[in-house]
């Protein structure tokens, strides 16, 4: 009898212990889950930019490496050669440009408050005019909003320039390293991850990964080339006028051109603003506007570049573009806004490839089935 009692007692104790342990571990898991996602986010923020940049670089350099590889070099040697070539080219470009850029950057930092103040003034005038024509639109406070936005922008720029030396240093170290490994082992990494698929689905996974990576490299190369050409042409077109900072404005227009629909509009705002402040509404202003809109966007981008470089596969509905921009901005700030849309396009390409693949092979199968039953 006492033996039985002690047994149940140990059992009770065990049950109690197990229960408390499970509750405690459940609680710990719950709290650590949010902690882990937070940690993941923090840990990846430093990595996202270098990894993305090196992926893009790897996509861009891949054709060159291939060309060398066809010659007497093996892959590693050709990657080294291409990296060396790129480094030399970048160094020469940097040496040639850096005095201009530094001077421009310095004067821009003193000029920027002036431009912003003038921009807010213009907004003010616009609101007064708006109230004249549409008296019912009141309480918009456009200048106030503009001022808040401008101050935010200015602060961000100032705070970033202090820390940017360190970030630039780490980028200059990490990006070449990552690019080298992506170029050398990218194929192997994909092969290995596809190889994890079970035998039954291996063949399909392999085929799909090939189709998707081909589409992706087309897309990335096309987008980057498009942005670069638009940026160069806009910078070149602006340099015909007396506008200051034409190269910087061209660069800005090129980078923002990565985002469809909204990007070009955002890209021309600083140029228009500087033109208005420095040059006024003269003939030069209209030339600048024409450079941005007519030459940069309509003729070059829409009629020449997009039909040649970008396939319709990656076209996103404007709604998705806006959603991608907002979500990207929430995740990674300004960088996220720029890369959000390309990432969304990449996801779309993947989905479409999979669907296309399935449909191509499903069609004859269905007809065969009907043949069998008929």
């Amino acid at each position: 009898m006492p033996e039985q009692l002690s047994l149940t007692r140990t059992q009770l104790l065990l049950i109690f212990l197990v229960l408390t342990a499970s509750i405690a571990s459940g609680l710990a898991l719950f709290t650590s889950a949010s902690r882990i996602t937070e940690l993941l986010h923090v840990a990846t923020t430093g990595i996202v930019l270098p990894v993305l940049l090196s992926l893009v670089l790897a996509f861009l350099l891949e054709p060159l490496v291939r060309r060398f590889e066809r010659g007497p070099f093996n892959r590693t040697a050709s990657i080294f050669l291409v990296s060396l070539l790129t480094a030399v080219l970048l160094y020469l470009a940097g040496r040639w440009l850096s005095p201009h850029w530094l001077a421009m950057w310095g004067s821009l930092r003193t000029d920027l408050p002036r431009y912003l103040a003038r921009g807010i003034e213009l907004l003010n005038q616009f609101e007064v005019r708006l109230n004249e024509y549409f008296p019912f639109v009141s309480g918009l406070d456009l200048p106030g909003r503009g001022r808040v936005l401008a101050e935010h922008l200015f602060n961000e720029m100032l705070s970033h320039t202090t820390g940017s030396a360190l970030r630039l240093g780490s980028l200059m170290l990490l990006v070449p390293l990552f690019t080298f490994f992506f170029l050398r082992d990218g194929q192997k990494i994909i092969r290995f991850s596809v190889g994890l698929a079970p035998n039954r689905y291996y063949e399909m996974a392999h085929d799909l990964s090939y189709l998707i990576s081909r589409q992706l490299s087309h897309f990335v190369r096309g987008r980057i080339l498009e942005a670069a050409i638009v940026g160069i042409v806009v910078g070149f077109g602006l340099s015909f006028t007396d506008i200051r900072y034409a190269p910087l404005l061209g660069l800005f227009a090129g980078v923002t051109n990565l985002v469809p629909y909204l990007g070009p509009i955002v890209g021309m705002i600083p140029g228009i603003l500087i033109a208005l402040v420095d040059l006024g509404m003269g003939g030069q202003f209209w030339w600048i506007l024409a450079t941005y809109l007519l030459i940069g966007q309509v003729i070059l981008d829409n009629f020449i570049l997009i039909p040649i470089l970008i396939s319709h596969v990656s076209n996103l509905h404007p709604l998705w573009v806006i959603i991608a921009i907002i979500m990207g901005g929430k995740l990674y700030g300004v960088l996220g806004m720029i890369i959000g849309v390309p990432v969304a396009s990449i996801i779309k390409i993947i989905i479409i490839e999979i669907r296309y693949y399935r449909r191509t092979f499903a069609l004859p199968l269905a007809s065969q089935d009907s043949e069998l039953t008929g």
Binding site: R200, E203, S209, Y210, T360
Partner: protein, 174 residues
Amino acid sequence: MSPLWSNIFRQKPEEESLAYFLGTLPLFSDMTERELKRLETLVHVREYDAGETVFSEGDPGSGLYIVRTGRVRISSRSNQGREIELAVLASGDFFGETTLASPAMRVASARTLEKAQLVGLFRADLLETVQKNPAMANKLLLGLTRVMSERLHAAGQELMRLQQARSTAPAGEE
């Protein structure tokens, strides 16, 4: 070379390497040793358990499989849904080569009969090779064409033989 050094430098005997095995196949008989080494990195070695399906009739096909070890049963489903065995393949045989060059559905099913090691060569790899190493791709395609035309020839003759047998057969048999 003294045995000591050959021990150090040669991890595997030549006959056991994948490149050597590939070189023995009629498909790759034109290739040099260097190209065979390259081919080794191109193909996919997969391990299968006994009775595992490699692919089924109607699957999207994208390449050929070479049997390295084990046996594979190729079968097709008749109109009545019965399974008809077409062939049993052993080491050195290959199957599925019709889908290598152009995407098509599998017209038969393949299933391993015992533990097997298959070597896959897929269209994606072939297309990569065409871009990266055209000379090697040429040899690959030539080998493939030779084997395919031999098979086509044999199939044509078989068809002729069947036709003749049918025309000479007594009418009552049909």
